[in-house]
Amino acid sequence: MNTGRSSTRLTLNVLWYIPLILAAIVIVYPIYSMLNISMLGDTEVASYPPKLVPTSFILENFTRALVLAPLGRYLFNSILQSTMVMLGQLVTASLAAYAFAFIEFRFRNLLFLVFLSTLMIPWEATIIPNYLNVRQWGLTDTYWGLALPFMATGFGTFLLRQFYLKIPTELRDAAEIDGCGSLRFLWAVVLPLARPALGTLAVYSFLQTYNQYLWPLLITNDQTMRTVQIGLTLLQSEELLKTNVVAAGVMIILVPTFILFVFSNKQLIRGLTAGAVKG
């Protein structure tokens, strides 16, 4: 009796894999499809019926994308911009969060609200003056123009402050008695303890910047300054590249984010679930 019940239970459990696998196929299919196209030859890509599985592994499309497109240069631009934004946000947010978590000062709540209010102002509401300013300052087609507008973060400040608040105030008091200044306390005690939160902010800000579209589209005109997202889509729309080369380009662009996704999954998901407020 008992074994009978548990074995029907087991088959029922196995049945659940059918919807699971179907759902997984539907979700992965757009990515698989692009991977497939990236490995097709020039004639195969335009054949009907479409080839659903690559018959050979052609690396040529990838070298064409990197050299001809020139995706290598775009990739460099994107990674540099994302690193600048990431470092900028780590510095500004860890400093500001320190003030909010450890210093009791007048207008603290008001200033904290000011920081949070930046989360509610959509980027689109400020984009025209920002574009005009950056153009007037001569920062179009520069890395500073790409990175500066994103160097401060209300979300990151909030995230780090929450983490700092968990640090016992006794530590602060002990440090003060030892004659440890507040900057040294931040550097030697707070930041090492806050490493997980800093990691979350780093991964999150890198990914957000790397995947940006509208801002780099506005302020880069020079071929050599385009970011990957812009560079590849513009080449595609100008029909300068064959479909299979564009597909190879897409796969190359996805590599850094998939690396982050796999190796920093925890930090990334923590950042995204906390940062979803921003939309």
């Binding site: 894999y17 699971l20 759902a23 997984a24 979700i27 992965v28 757009p30 692009m34 196209i37 890509v45 335009a46 019926p49 479409p50 510095v91 500004t92 947010a93 400093l95 500001a96 003030a99 210093i103 009791e104 000062f105 007048r106 920081f115 509610m120 102002i121 959509p122 689109e124 509401a125 400020t126 025209i128 003056p129 574009y131 005009l132 300013n133 160097m151 401060a152 209300g154 400040t157 790397y210 995947n211 579209y213 509208l214 589209l217 506005l218 997202q229 590849l232 889509t233 595609q236 564009v246 897409v250 996805l254 996704f261 999954n265 990334l268 998901i269 995204l272 679930t273 979803a276 939309g279």
Partner: protein, 312 residues
């Protein structure tokens, strides 16, 4: 001892401050120093530009974006008398209605599946959340090829099943739906991750006592899991609506607002008016309208969702 302290007059008393006031001021100035880098960037790239957007929207502008004549609300009057803006607004609302309910429903199904206690379920959880690593631009390129009328595999599959093919991005009847599908696919990852996290927060005892009472899987889902997800669902509803109203990339990559303006969503319309047509004031008025819509949604979230959270 007492003599010594009285002989040294702290310099702040010379400034007319008491010791307490001085310590307060010093703390304030220290804090300000820590906040200064952030405040500098916020002022330069958020607050001042926001005010400038409002200012621009009240002016006529020349082709390089300089305000020329103050015209009060003329740009706003133009907005609401112009077919193109009303179309964009309607299309954006339509887009939100297409994407948000489907995203939430699909993500709920995926999270429920991902929450099953099965072997290797972790692999499925990773797959269900994979789109959080995909950018709007690359997703748009993927779907652009899937939608290709002759060579795309979607129409090929339809024809294999003996179904009529779809014109996807080519027809103004189906283009907005096709763009919506990209948006749904992109948002599913984040939604599933958040719903899964919420589901894992349901106390185990609830399920155990339900099991003792002989509750079926459906009963457990409808009477324990779903009510528990209420606040998360409201949160995602607002987040998805905000993201949906801000959609730009798929439109820019796949349709450029066409065919016949059927996918000319608000943000794309703003971009086209100022960047391509050089109508800065007119575009600024549109961006302020978008700002107001999003403000209302955010306030709605604070009033409604936050209360829900504390209620639980």
């Amino acid at each position: 001892m007492a003599q010594q302290t009285s002989s040294i007059i702290p310099f702040y008393t010379r400034l007319g401050l008491t010791g307490r006031q001085w310590r307060g001021l010093r703390k304030f100035l220290t804090a300000l120093a820590y906040l200064a880098p952030s405040l500098f960037f916020f002022l330069t790239f958020v607050f001042v530009p926001l005010l400038n957007s409002i200012k621009l929207s009240l002016y006529l502008t020349d082709p390089i974006g300089r305000p020329t004549a103050f015209v009060w609300f003329l740009q706003y009057e133009r907005l609401f008398s112009q077919e193109s803006f009303l179309n964009s607004l309607a299309r954006s609302v339509q887009f939100v209605l297409y994407t948000v309910p489907v995203t939430l429903l699909v993500s709920l199904v995926l999270a429920t599946l991902g929450n099953l206690r099965l072997k290797k379920i972790a692999i499925f959880r990773v797959i269900f959340s994979i789109t959080i690593a995909v950018s709007g631009a690359t997703a748009s390129l993927m779907f652009l090829y899937l939608y290709h009328p002759n060579l795309g595999t979607l129409n090929y599959f339809l024809s294999l099943l003996g179904l009529p093919t779809v014109k996807w991005l080519i027809s103004d009847q189906t283009a907005l739906m096709s763009v919506s599908l990209v948006s749904v696919w992109l948002q599913i990852g984040l939604n599933t991750v958040i719903l899964l996290a919420a589901m894992q927060g349901v106390p185990e005892e609830l399920y155990e006592s339900a099991m003792i009472d002989g509750a079926t899987a459906w009963n457990k889902f409808f009477y324990i899991t779903l009510p528990f997800l209420g606040s998360t669902f409201f949160f995602l509803l607002v987040v998805d609506m905000l993201a949906s109203f801000q959609t730009f990339t798929p439109v820019s990559v796949m349709t450029k607002g066409g065919p016949i303006d059927s996918t000319n969503l608000l943000v794309y319309s703003i971009y086209r008016e100022f960047y391509i047509n050089g109508k800065y004031g007119f575009a600024a008025a549109q961006s302020i309208m978008l700002f107001l819509v999003m403000m209302i949604l955010t306030i709605f979230q604070f009033l409604f969702v936050e209360k829900k959270v504390s209620y639980e």
